[in-house]
C-alpha cells in the first residue's frame, strides 16, 4: 500500500479497459482497507456498549455481546444531571461558535483582500499561539482567569474556547475569501455598497462552505474540550459532558468500560450528525480554505 500504486490507480480513463478495470479494483480494495482501519475501532467500541462491565474482561472474549442490553444508554440518559451537562455543553458550543465566526471573519477578510504593512507578521501573531499544547497554557491562563475574577464562570470557558478556535477560523476563512473572484465584490463596491454590506450580503453567502467548515471544526473543539473545563471550573453547575466522562472513569473500582464507552458514544453522536448533514460543505470549505 504505497503511494506509487495509488499513483498508478490515478489514471483512469487513459489506458486500456483492462488496465482501467484493474486500477478500479485496486482503488476499491484500498478504500475498503482504509475504511476498516478508520471504522473498526469505533465499531468495536459501539459493540462494547451493549456488554456488561464484567463481560468485557472475560476470556476468551466474544465479538458480539451476550445480549443486546440498552441499560447503559438508559442509565446515562435518565441520570438527573445529564440534561444539565448536555445543556452546558450545547450552550458553550453555540456561543463559542457564533463568536468565533463573527470575530474571525473580519480578520479573515482583511488578510485575504487587503495588503497592509505588517500583514504577514500580524497573521503569524494569530496563527503561532495556536501551536502550543493546550494542556500547557492551563497554568498561566489559570492565574489570568483568577485575576479577572472569572474563575467558575461560563465567561472563562467561552473566552478560552473562542481564542483557541479563532486561529483556525481565520486561516480557513481567509483562504475561502481569497478564492472568491475579486470582480464580484468590486462590482458591488461600484454599485456603492459599503464594505460591511458587501461582506455580509455578497462574500459570506458565497463563502458558506468555508463558514460551515469553520463551524464544524469549532463545534468539534468546544464540544470535546477538556483541559480548560477541568482547570477553570470547580462547580458541578458548569460541568460539561467531557468532564463528566472523565469523572466517570474513577467512580468504580474496575473501569466500567461499557458505561464509559456509552457515554463517549452519546457525546459523539450530536457532532457526527451535524457533520454528516454538512459534510459536503465541509469538504468544499477545506478545498477552498486550505490554499495558503
Amino acid at each position: 500500500m504505497n503511494t506509487a500504486t495509488s499513483a498508478k490507480a490515478l489514471e483512469i480513463g487513459t489506458r486500456s479497459p483492462k488496465f482501467k478495470r484493474r486500477s478500479m479494483i485496486l482503488t476499491w480494495v484500498l478504500v475498503i482497507v482504509m475504511m476498516v482501519w478508520v471504522l473498526l475501532p469505533l465499531l468495536w467500541a459501539i459493540l462494547s456498549t451493549f456488554k456488561t462491565p464484567i463481560e468485557i474482561y472475560r476470556v476468551p472474549i466474544k465479538i458480539l455481546p451476550e445480549s443486546f442490553d440498552f441499560s447503559n444508554y438508559v442509565r446515562i440518559l435518565t441520570d438527573s444531571d445529564f440534561p444539565r451537562y448536555f445543556m452546558n455543553t450545547v450552550m458553550l458550543t453555540v456561543i463559542t461558535t457564533v463568536l468565533t465566526v463573527f470575530i474571525s471573519m473580519w480578520a479573515a477578510y482583511a488578510f485575504a483582500r487587503m495588503r497592509f504593512p505588517l500583514h504577514h507578521m500580524l497573521l503569524l501573531f494569530i496563527l503561532v499561539p495556536r501551536l502550543i499544547p493546550r494542556i500547557s497554557v492551563v497554568i498561566p491562563l489559570y492565574r489570568m482567569i483568577v485575576q479577572l475574577g472569572l474563575l467558575n464562570t461560563y465567561a472563562a470557558l467561552i473566552i478560552t474556547y473562542t481564542v483557541t478556535a479563532i486561529p483556525f477560523a481565520v486561516w480557513i476563512m481567509s483562504g475561502v475569501f481569497e478564492s472568491i473572484p475579486r470582480e464580484i465584490e468590486e462590482s458591488a463596491f461600484m454599485d456603492g455598497a459599503r464594505l460591511f454590506q458587501t461582506l455580509w450580503r455578497i462574500m459570506l453567502p458565497i463563502a458558506i462552505p468555508g463558514v460551515i467548515a469553520v463551524v464544524i471544526f469549532t463545534v468539534r473543539e468546544s464540544w470535546n474540550e477538556f483541559p480548560f473545563v477541568l482547570s477553570f471550573t470547580t462547580s458541578s453547575r458548569l460541568r460539561t459532558l467531557p468532564y463528566q466522562l472523565f469523572l466517570f472513569r474513577d467512580t468504580l473500582g474496575i473501569e466500567n468500560w461499557p458505561l464509559i464507552n456509552t457515554f463517549a458514544i452519546i457525546t459523539v453522536i450530536p457532532i457526527l450528525v451535524a457533520y454528516f448533514i454538512f459534510s459536503k460543505h465541509v469538504m468544499t470549505g477545506i478545498v477552498q480554505g486550505a490554499v495558503k
Partner: protein, 422 residues
C-alpha cells in the same frame, strides 16, 4: 437591509467589547458580605463517591445561616487547583486530599490547624468526637497538629480464592513465601497465581513493603536499600520471572488487576476494602473467596505494619469561619452519613458503623476486619511525594522488566537518588 447593517455593526461592537473585557478587565467585583449575611462555605470532595447520600440536606435544614457549596475536584487535581485558587483568595474552605500530600499543602501555607476547634467539638459533642478512630485523626495530622479529619481510610488486603485452595488441598498462606508457593500451585493456563498492577502506582508497593517490615527514615523516605526493600523488589521480580502474574503486567492498572480476580482469572490479589462489594457481586465471601490483612515476612513479623491510605478533609488557610467549618466536619462524622459512604465505597473511620448490623449485613467481611482496621498505620506522607514515587516506580519498573537486574544493586542505586531529594 437596514437590519443587516445593524446586526453587522453590533457584532463588530460585540467583538470589541469581548476583546476589551479580556484585555482591560480588572479584578472581579463581588459584593462584600455584610455582617448579618449568612456564612458561605465551599467544600471540595475528591470523588463523587465521598459525598454522603444525604448530600447536606439535613445540614442545611439545621443551620439556615450557613450556605454550603459542594464541588467535586478529583484528588489528582486538588493540589494544583487549590494552590492557585487559594493564592488568589478564591479557594475552598475545606478540601479533600490524599493524606500523603498534606506536607506540600502545609509547606505552602495553604492549610490551618484547627486544634482549638477540635477541642470545642470534643467539649460540645463528645460522643461524635470519640467515635472517630485514631486513624481518622492520624491521616489529618502534620508535625503533631491536626488540620482536619479523615472520614475514610482504607488498606489493601490479601484476597484469595478459597474454593480453589481447598480443591487443591492448600492452606491459606500466612507469609509472602507461602503466597508465592500458592501462586505457583494455582498458576494454570486458565488463571494466574497472583494479580498485581504494573510499575505505575506506588501505593500497592508501599503496602507490600510495610507489611514486609519496611521502614521509612526520619524524612519519611522509603528505605529500598534495606532487607525489606530488597525483599519487596525481589518479590515483584520473582512474580514476573516465574510468570505468576499476567504477561501484560507492566501495562496493568488497578482496574485490570482487580478485574482479573473478580472474573476468575487470578487466584490471589492485593485489593482494597472498597472493592469488596464488587467482588461479592460475582463471588461469595467465605465460600469462594476470602480476605485477610497483608501477610507477614518470615523473620520480620515484629516489624509488620498494616498500611492504610486516607483521604482527610482539611481546613484551608482561606477559611474565616472555623466554627462553621468544624460543623461541616461534624456533619460528615455522623453515623448515617459515614455509613452511606462505607456501604458503597471506602471504609469509614467512624467506629460505630463497624458494629451496625445493617452494615455487617451488607458487608459480611466487616466482622472479620473490624479489629485489624483499628490497627492500621498511615502510609507516610512526604513533601516530595511525587518525586519519591517516580523514583520508586523507576526501580520497580527496572526489576519487573529486566530479569537480570539484581534487586540489591537496584535498591542501592535508587536509594542514592532518593536520599538526594533531601
Amino acid at each position: 437591509m437596514l437590519n443587516m447593517r445593524k446586526i453587522l455593526i453590533w457584532s463588530l461592537i460585540a467583538s470589541f467589547a469581548m476583546t476589551g473585557s479580556v484585555v482591560f478587565a480588572t479584578g472581579g467585583s463581588e459584593a462584600e458580605a455584610g455582617e448579618d449575611e449568612p456564612v458561605e462555605l465551599t467544600v471540595w470532595f475528591g470523588r463523587e463517591n465521598f459525598i454522603p447520600d444525604d448530600n447536606f440536606a439535613s445540614f442545611r435544614a439545621k443551620y439556615d445561616n450557613i450556605i454550603v457549596n459542594v464541588d467535586v475536584i478529583p484528588l489528582e487535581q486538588a493540589l494544583t487547583e487549590a494552590s492557585t485558587a487559594l493564592s488568589a483568595g478564591k479557594g475552598p474552605d475545606i478540601l479533600q486530599t490524599d493524606s500523603r500530600r498534606i506536607p506540600p499543602l502545609v509547606q505552602a501555607n495553604l492549610l490551618q490547624e484547627i486544634e482549638a476547634q477540635l477541642a470545642l467539638w470534643q467539649k460540645e459533642d463528645p460522643a461524635s468526637y470519640n467515635n472517630i478512630s485514631s486513624s481518622g485523626w492520624d491521616h489529618a495530622t502534620h508535625d503533631g497538629k491536626r488540620y482536619g479529619v479523615a472520614f475514610s481510610a482504607g488498606p489493601f488486603n490479601h484476597v484469595y480464592r478459597l474454593d480453589w485452595l481447598e480443591a487443591a488441598g492448600l492452606d491459606a498462606p500466612t507469609t509472602w513465601e507461602e503466597l508465592l508457593d500458592v501462586a505457583r500451585a494455582l498458576n494454570t493456563d486458565d488463571h494466574i497465581g497472583y494479580s498485581i498492577r504494573g510499575a505505575n502506582s506506588t501505593v500497592w508497593f508501599s503496602s507490600h513493603y510495610m507489611a514486609m517490615g519496611g521502614k521509612y527514615d526520619e524524612n519519611d523516605v522509603i528505605q529500598l536499600d534495606s532487607e525489606a526493600g530488597i525483599y519487596a523488589l525481589g518479590f515483584y521480580q520473582t512474580l514476573v520471572r516465574e510468570g505468576l502474574v499476567s504477561p501484560d503486567v507492566l501495562a496493568w492498572g488497578s482496574g485490570d488487576m482487580r478485574a482479573a480476580f473478580i472474573t476468575g482469572r487470578a487466584a490471589q490479589a492485593p485489593i482494597g476494602t472498597n472493592i469488596f462489594p464488587s467482588i461479592q457481586e460475582e463471588l461469595e465471601y467465605g465460600v469462594q473467596w476470602a480476605a485477610v490483612p497483608p501477610l507477614k515476612r518470615e523473620g520480620a513479623e515484629d516489624e509488620y505494619r498494616y498500611a492504610s491510605l486516607g483521604w482527610p478533609h482539611v481546613v484551608t488557610s482561606a477559611s474565616e469561619d472555623l466554627y462553621e467549618a468544624s460543623l461541616v466536619l461534624r456533619y460528615l462524622a455522623e453515623h448515617d452519613n459515614a455509613m452511606s459512604i462505607a456501604l458503597r465505597y471506602q471504609p469509614t473511620t467512624i467506629m460505630s458503623v463497624w458494629d451496625d448490623p445493617a452494615y455487617i449485613d451488607v458487608q459480611p467481611w466487616a466482622r472479620d476486619f473490624a479489629e485489624p482496621l483499628r490497627n492500621m498505620t498511615r502510609t507516610p506522607p512526604n513533601l516530595y511525594i511525587t518525586d519519591m514515587d517516580e523514583i520508586i516506580l523507576d526501580a520497580l519498573g527496572e526489576v519487573m522488566s529486566d530479569m537480570n537486574a539484581d534487586p540489591a544493586e537496584v535498591a542501592a542505586r535508587y536509594q542514592l537518588v532518593l536520599n538526594d531529594l533531601f
